[in-house]
């Protein structure tokens, strides 16, 4: 704890900064997010392995398996035995990918899958639509949280984004910017192509769908499809052309979630009083937003990286359906203090660590 003195200009003596400090655990949400991304990714690897194990059980083929298959059988049996009695049937409780799947009997689908399927069939199939209700509600509340917290492609893209930053040290210009509205065009085109051709066009270019499918294909069926090539090319695009460019500018799912999450209830906000305009929040924002000027918009996926990096605890979560207007420079910034240097009055500000 320390004490500082500076010109007031807007600070209230009756309202110390300690009152607007964010909840301490918010700083650790980013770690929780990485854990969530890792768990989802591992699930996508585990599900096909469990599926193979189901086949072996169903075939009663233990005595016919090779040593590596026996090892797989034993490992999956060890993992699943506490939860299931008859693996051949009970393991069906968890299957699918983030595109569409089943989690302990609850069927879930990506809203983009519903939009694409409805466009392709030109009709609404309510049993399918109902599977998107939970993701839809979560998006209305948390915005584009799927992109930041669940998407298996994000797990890879974000690791790759750090590689891009590392490579930029060697002179590689990989931070080109495009128009953010391109992804809405991709979404509209995808709907149009689906409706015209009767096929689910999004499934070919939507990174989490491609990745989930290819992981299953490679593990359960020992092969790779064209989707693997597509995904590696997107990684190349992110690495050498535009960091997180696929998510920012081209992902149709990101476009849909941005639209649905425009009036999200839970959003990040800047606390202007402790903010010192250090710009770290902007620097770590994967989506190139401008948290330091209160500009989050529909794109923010509540990844909370800005909260965890802020040295002044000036980022917090709030319940509101809109961003607050630009509050100006942070009250601890040099710019703010110069603007208000004509004030002679000084006040005590506590708990700024």
């Amino acid at each position: 704890m320390m004490e500082k003195e500076f010109a007031p200009a807007g600070l209230s003596k009756q309202k110390p900064i300690t009152a607007s400090k964010p909840f301490a655990l918010y700083r650790h949400l980013n770690k929780l997010r990485w854990l969530s991304l890792a768990v989802v990714f591992l699930m996508l690897i585990l599900i096909p392995l469990l599926s193979i194990y189901q086949h072996y059980v169903a075939a009663q083929g233990y005595n016919h398996l090779s040593p590596s298959q026996t090892l797989l059988y034993d490992t999956m049996e060890f993992i699943s035995a506490p939860f299931v009695d008859a693996p051949e049937h009970d393991l069906d409780a968890i299957k699918g990918t983030t595109w569409s799947g089943q989690l302990f009997g609850v069927k879930l689908s990506d809203p983009l899958a519903i939009v694409g399927q409805s466009a392709a069939s030109l009709k609404l199939y309510w049993p399918l639509i109902l599977t998107a209700v939970i993701p839809l509600l979560a998006t209305l509340i948390f915005g584009r949280f799927f992109c930041g917290w669940i998407c298996p492609a994000t797990f890879i893209y974000e690791l790759n984004s750090n590689l891009s930053v590392y490579l930029s040290r060697f002179g590689i210009k990989n931070n080109r910017r495009f128009h953010k509205n391109i992804k809405y065009l991709v979404l509209a085109l995808g709907i149009g192509i689906s409706a015209y051709t009767g096929t689910l066009a999004f499934a070919s270019i939507y990174p989490p769908a491609v990745l989930g499918r290819e992981l299953y294909f490679s593990i359960a069926l020992s092969g790779f499809g064209g989707g693997t090539l597509f995904f590696i090319l997107t990684l190349g695009f992110d690495t050498f052309v535009s960091r997180r460019g696929i998510c920012r500018y081209f992902c149709p799912g990101g476009a849909l979630y941005s639209l649905l999450g425009r009036y999200r209830v839970v959003r990040v906000k800047r606390l202007v009083e402790p903010c010192n305009d250090c710009n770290k929040c902007n620097a770590v924002c994967e989506f190139d937003l401008d948290p330091m000027r209160d500009n989050f918009g529909a794109e923010c996926n509540n990844c909370t990286a800005c909260i965890s990096v802020c040295p002044k605890s000036a980022m917090s979560l709030t319940l509101s359906i809109s961003d607050q207007p630009n509050q100006g420079p942070g009250h601890q910034s040099r710019q703010y203090r110069q603007q208000n240097s004509d004030h002679n009055e000084t006040i005590q500000v506590k708990n700024i660590s």
Binding site: S51, Q54, H55, A58, A59, Q60, G61, H64, L65, S66, P67, S68, Q69, I156, L159, N160, N162, L163, V165, Y166, S168, R169, K173, N175, R176, R177, F178, H179, I182, S204, I205, S218, L221, S222, G223, F224, G225, G226, G227, T228, L229, F230, I232, L233, L235, F237, V241, S242, G245, F250, N279, K280, N282, A283, V284
Partner: protein, 202 residues
């Protein structure tokens, strides 16, 4: 902020379209779906694997005996084909061919020509084709017939011996993932510093 030219997004869009188009040209040839196994646990017969699918006007069941064939051990493929509309059995010669389905054979083009393993006629409602593979590997069995002027090509996967746990692409993908993970862990402080430096100059 980098200055954006009009050509950059156009070229990128073109690249994306090309990639998308290229992806759509890569079609799957496997019959997907979960195989089923139908022996009870008291049977002495090795388990078989069955795959059911519909193609054109026919409902087709493909069975492999044994379910886990090994090199130098004889095996058999059974095919049952009935019309979807009236259940009438297909009565037409079926030609069975086999080809290599490994990455080097299939994708790179290093495969030998598909080999005809036999032509079978219906026998008691079943088309039976025996096989014996000398080496382990992933193969595609193709059953081909023509009906009413329409060619029917049914491709089924057949794994002989243990599948290799990691193929060349799997190893490459695993290496890329390992590299990403290591750079993120080992260089995390340098990456964070670079991000913040670049944030200040942006």
């Amino acid at each position: 902020m980098n200055k954006m030219t009009i050509t950059t997004p156009i070229l990128s869009a073109l690249l994306l379209c090309t990639v998308t188009l290229f992806s759509s040209l890569t079609y799957a040839h496997h019959v997907l779906g979960r195989p089923s196994y139908s022996l009870n646990e008291d049977s002495n017969t090795p388990p078989s694997m069955a795959i059911e699918t519909q193609i054109g006007e026919y409902f087709v069941t493909y069975m492999v005996f044994p379910a886990f064939p090994k090199p130098n051990e004889p095996g058999r493929v059974n095919i049952y084909a009935t019309r979807i509309d009236n259940g009438a059995m297909l009565d037409q010669a079926i030609t069975f061919t086999v080809r290599d389905d490994t990455f080097w054979g299939e994708s790179i083009g290093g495969a030998t020509e598909p080999e005809v393993i036999g032509q079978q006629h219906i026998d008691d409602g079943v088309y039976r084709q025996g096989f014996l593979f000398k080496s382990r590997g992933s193969y595609i069995i193709r059953a081909y017939f023509e009906k009413n002027g329409e060619p029917y090509e049914l491709d089924f996967p057949l794994q002989v011996g243990a599948a290799s746990p990691v193929g060349p692409i799997g190893a490459a993908v695993g290496f890329i993932f390992f590299l990403l993970l290591m750079i993120n862990i080992v260089q995390r402080k340098r990456i964070a510093r670079t991000k913040i430096q670049q944030g200040h100059t942006a």
